[in-house]
Symmetry: C2
Subunit: 339 residues, 2 copies
């Protein structure tokens, strides 16, 4: 099998580090000689030991992408600056930022759900928002079986979704609060330790945050269901890793909780953890560092016809970001999307 010339942009961040780990774990066929670890100028010159080699992080410039087959953008502002440049130089871009997700010419792909969309890319394939990926993984088997009318979701999102500095902020604040000392929030708009912040990303004119609307727009695009009714409330919780979601759905045809469990248990990438007697249900501390999307608390919604309620937890740095991006890269060689 040929080896791919790969570049990872944002290699020093939370998602970037996870991308490198997932590439190694999954044995992605990259060429170690040509692998480029790129970042902002601030991180240029840093050394990263990766798979027995030492790499020097380079500042990203347009020419970084010359001769590169696949570029994985970890997220942030780099995509807007460099993704088109990389495509112009012949690379395929897999982008974890929201820059291109709503562009009709850019497929938005979860490999278990809409792998074929990867084939019509024009150089860029977008990786969905972390909160969206885990929800849509749980929705898809139900959507296919009985149709979906409405989704109501409230999230409990981990701080690592906001990067390595956010992890450090929760750690520092937790210690300060325990010592009764004062907090000066830096990464988050308010104290996050022992608190909840019902704002992720900026507010839009309709009163929703951009994070909430991402879940609406992206779920519709991935499922190919432009009319699907979705309402999201996105909340930051003092959890290091793995997002949790309380989901209430209304299906078009009826589906019992038992049938839903069977469908979800059979879905690739989904694991059902649902045994109340054994106090078994998904939780962030158990889901972390796993690639699965865990679903539990599956029960009929007693407040409507054809309703189901469930609880979804997944490591948002893994399946919600890095793992999904690497799976997309795998589609490229598996399906010959890039020679």
């Amino acid at each position: 099998m040929r080896k791919y010339d790969l570049a990872v942009v944002g290699a020093t961040g939370a998602v970037g580090q996870e991308l490198l780990q997932v590439l190694a774990e999954r044995g992605f066929p990259y060429d170690p000689e040509s692998l480029k670890l790129l970042a902002s100028e601030r991180s240029a010159g840093k050394k990263i030991n990766y798979q027995g080699r030492e790499y020097t992080v380079e500042a990203t410039v347009p020419d970084s992408f010359t001769g590169v087959d696949i570029v994985l953008f970890a997220g942030g502002a780099a995509s807007k600056l460099f993704a088109r440049e990389a495509v112009a130089r012949g690379a395929v871009v897999i982008d974890n930022s929201s820059t291109f997700r709503y562009d009709d010419n850019v497929p938005l792909v979860v490999p278990e759900i809409n792998p074929k969309d990867a084939a019509w890319h024009q150089g860029i394939i977008a990786n969905p928002n972390c909160s969206t990926i885990q929800m849509v993984m749980a929705l898809k088997p139900i959507y296919d079986a009985v149709g979906l009318k409405r989704v109501v979701v409230s999230t409990y999102q981990a701080v690592s979704g906001a990067g390595v500095e956010a992890i450090e902020e929760l750690r520092r604040q937790s210690a300060l609060v325990s010592q009764g000392r004062e907090i000066q929030p830096k990464v988050f708009p308010h104290q996050i330790a022992f608190n909840l912040i019902p704002q992720i990303d900026v507010f839009l004119e309709n009163g929703y945050t951009k994070e909430e609307m991402k879940m609406v727009w992206e779920t519709r695009k991935i499922l190919g269901a432009p009319e699907l009714a979705i309402c999201a409330t996105a909340v930051r919780a003092p959890v290091y890793r793995s997002h949790s979601e309380s989901v209430n759905i209304e299906t078009i045809k009826p589906l019992s909780a038992k049938e839903a469990k069977e469908l979800l248990a059979a879905a690739p990438g989904v694991e059902v953890l649902d045994d109340p007697e054994q106090k078994l249900y998904p939780m962030p501390y158990q889901a972390s560092h796993s690639d699965s999307v865990y679903v539990g608390r599956i029960r009929e919604d007693i407040s409507c016809q054809n309703g189901l309620a469930f609880w979804v937890v997944s490591d948002q740095l893994r399946k919600g970001a890095a793992t999904n991006a690497v799976q997309i890269a795998e589609l490229l060689y598996k399906e010959g999307g890039k020679s």
Copy 2:
């Protein structure tokens, strides 16, 4: 004004301590000479300094209630053992446990909402569940104005709802996790530090927890709306104090977000904190030690007709327990329910 002979059962616990504080703050007309601080045998003999006097905690026995006008039960098993005994001795019981809440002969009262129900008591008045009180405070003005068809709620509940040992468990676990040390959960079924547990109270046959069904049963009883459709998901979060709730409602007649804000701002006991531009919304660390129910993130639910979404935070030891109980006691003398 006459002074009441008062007893507080469970005086050494989280709610009991809060009851004493609220009684003092609100200037409740109790007789300091006759005030009895009762608890389990384990706590008997403890000294409590309260309002310039030293009280000795007594073990609760039936005769503890002889000559007592009003008994405040903080919660737990004591109500089942002693509430009827107190009533038999002529006292009026205000009970914070769930023992009598679903008894048709026991009123379930939130003083801002259904104060008149206190009048038909037969010796016992039940104080609702903390999660219910704050939700129903936000629902009531909307229910009165346009009617309610359906409520979907996901909670983010503080550990102090499980008592003082639970507060200590979060504190201890947070330190241990920071030191990379192992956790042995005692109060909660799983690690709570930096985690979320989607189980509060026991599981019932329908797949819901008792905490979730309390929100259904109690909201219906307080609003006098036995058919109201409600679905709850109750989740424990690593927050010391104040419960948060993400609520989606469907009203019978339409109500804009602007109108809902006006109704809520005018409702007694409710404060609207809702200015996205200023990053202003309710949060547990801000709501703690206040008696208000804070509502924010008020917006139209884009996934249904006549839908609204909002976020409710309140100190569940104050309005969710102690303050509401003392307000009920105030109704007794204000309305002459007890001479």
